[in-house]
Amino acid sequence: MSGVSLAILCTCRDTLKGTLHWRTIEQEIKARRPMTHVGYLPSLCLYEDLDRVKSLVEQERPRALLIGACSPFAKGRAVLDKLMTVCEASISVTLVDLREGCAWIHTGDPRGASAKAADIVCMGLAELEHRQSVRLERSAPEQRVLVVGAGPAGLAASEILARLGLEVVLAERLERPGGLLNQIGKLFPQNVSSEEFLGSLLKGIDHPATTFLPQTTVSRIDGDPGKFIAHLSRSGDEESLTVGAVILACGALPVFPEGLFRFRALAGVISQMELETKLKKLEADRTSPLEITSAVFIQCVAARDEVRPYCSTICCPTALKNALRLKTLKPDLVVTILHRGIMAPGKALEELYRHAMASGVFFHLYDPAEPPEVAGRERAESVSLIDALSGRRFVFTADLVVLSTPLKPRPGVAGLARDLGMRLDPMGFACGREPMQPLAAPVPGVYLCGAVRWPVPVHEAVDQGRAAAVKAAVFLNGGNTDRKAPGAGKAMVLSEACGGCGWCIAVCPYGACRRAEDGTSVISPLRCQGCGLCAAVCPSGAARLPERSSAALRAMVREIAQRSLP
């Protein structure tokens, strides 16, 4: 192969000639890079010229091929893709934008535009000269997924994964699968029995490819995407397991309103979770009567305050559902919900809200500055409040006071999140890549679903579980095929130049840089996403992106500086 470069410029059916003086451009390119052959074609994007490109390439046998055409966002990218199919892999190819990036924004200055176009072509050629292609041996990812937590999200994820033909290891901290589903009786908004619902989810994990590990916690996860090593502990026994992807579905914890609204001080003041258990029992055994005449729900207890400045999403619909359940058990029961705005967004929840109102549930808005007060001697007797809308004071008799509390993040998540390069929000919930990939962690092969990310209703947790499962399956299937810009590959460290300062380790946003035995840094190509931060901070120039190195950028800068000399 010769040392010749080939620059093929698309004239865009002669529509650019008013701005770009092709002859001047060619002269300038040849003056600066005599070994460049410049060819013109009228419309590369219509592919009729493709054969001519092919024959030019065969004739010139260039080392590098540059296409000067339109923006990659117009037709440039498609042209480049087509060319890749006709060119030998050994030729490095690049696309530069001479239309949107030059001719069209400098129509008033043909001289300047032509000079710029020559610069752009020379910069592209300089970049090609410094491009090193690196071929990475990639071992196939382990076709096994670890799902942490067997709540609704984890169960739904496991089902989909198994049906997609992947091996699933489902680790659950407790003995029984189901998570919080075990503690509740009915699910809003359709009021389905949670047992039936759990039953259908459990059928999903009754699959030969699924291994359910009860009483198992995940203490640590290391390794790289495609080959994570999970350290499991099960009643004292330690075990490690290689998995290709991890789905974090370890849920959240209900808050108990200790010290608030005379919780535990008065009989009859219970948390929403305790009411769930109670209702489950009452609904199972309809013979035992409900011996109360009035119930008051207080919403946003220990939530939307300074300690937990967030709305836990599920408490309003839960209160609506349970108010209706109480009403079903005892139609003449007086049920009042004291709230700070009923959070029932959407269609089904708004219907539930309307249904509750139509069923005679009373609603009163309170101001957090003037919270309701629970009174009684030994037992809850009444709740007083100042209605925030009317400003009037009400006193409700209440045999039962139900405190709606939020879900809080599990403290144990922080460790796993750190291992997996995942961020936590200020509240302690895990973060995905909001908003378009809310369930994907920055590190590929790591997904999250359910209340570990944010409190969600059961049906949404199930949706998230399925969605996380499909994302994990896509990852194990070779990942998404999104093409990167040319030159955006994986970073690497030239170990002989590495001084072992560890700056790259400190800055890498994916935890891809690690210290090797000899003290130098190594970069895991599986974790690396190619942002180039390591190269930007490396004092000795050891960390680099070989396909688009600093040397290439430097050469492009030099090209600009050189041309513009007086």
């Binding site: 059916r13 709305c311 269609k347 990939q437």
Partner: protein, 415 residues
Amino acid sequence: MDSSKRSDSLPVLVVGAGVCGLTAALDLARLGIPVHLIEREGHIGGQVMRLDKLYPSDHCAFCPVWTDGAACLAHPLITVHRRTSLDSLDPEPDRIAAVLKVQPPAIDPEACIFCGLCRAVCEENGAPGTITMQPVGLPWDPAAPPVPVIDSALCSRCRECSAVCPTGAVRPDWLDLSPTTLRLAVADVIFATGFVEMDHSPLVEYSPGSHPDVFTAIDFEAWTAEAGPNAGLIRRRSNGAQARSVAFIQCVGARDQRFLPYCSAVCCMHALKQARWVKRRLPEASIAVFFTDLRSVGKGYEGYARAAAEEGVLLVRSRPGMVFSLPEQNGGSTVAVRYEDMRSAEVITAEFDLVVLGGGLALCPLPGASVLDAKRSEICGFCREPVDVSQAVVQGSSAAAIIAARLIGRKGGRQ
């Protein structure tokens, strides 16, 4: 399984190329299942492409969508049909026969090189606005090439554009073609048709259309967008002056038994987002959000609402009963909002330069869905239940998961 390996299953039809449909299509294709993605509009990306920013991060809306859109267009297993609507579905034992209506484009997107000569000649001939280069304001579709559009109603059919086109892409005669029919045999259907804005004209209390400074929330987004006609300035539509006060009225046409009985779920946060960005650009302006229940439900949304209040956005729990034009001394007029202050029980009339009506996002109808049983179709995104972007993409993936499990599982799993 190998991503290059094509599944031997029939393709899946995804109706609607908004964020939800795009996600579903990509997930399926990346598992090796062929997909036909149909979109009624000329651009993909759906309603999100009409937004400038997304809450709660306030980042550009098109940016994440663009990546998925471009990936969809490039994926060998996804066929994108723009300007295509679903006509009918006919379930057969092992397949579903889908009939699609495709409006052929008057300018061939394959041949067009976006040079703009057609528009130039059209303008010379005194018909500006007939041929417009996409994008014009929002929506902007960076995933799609900027093919110009001919407005059929304005076009005189002089065919001069066709004569100047260097590639023969412009064919004004096609404007008068009726839609062509396309028949597909598909395995499953995913409906992701999203929402439509309801017609505000029956809402007489808000005097829709009577004052240029009354906007719908989505129009307001385009009007004030950094990519929009005003490049981010908050102007009045009536006189171009900078706005001094803005009112956002929520639940317009929603949670209303006459129109949409349900809550559109996204409008509270949408209003807060717009209120915050108006406040950021015009710190002096007074901004009020009139809400029924401020439904800031979602990850980080409560904090977003708090931040809005801290930044000085006035949050008023009230549903204004009337919006009307109020003449000013200089000949112009402001928009008056009459509402009842719940606490003082007084009726207040406040004047605003701009009024934004939020709410009233109606679930899109699902053409042909009724003939399919639930096991052969999935409904996801806003057309199932009002959701925001991050929920919609989850639902899209979830629908893809169910269908992929069904199609791949049917073959007895992978080798």
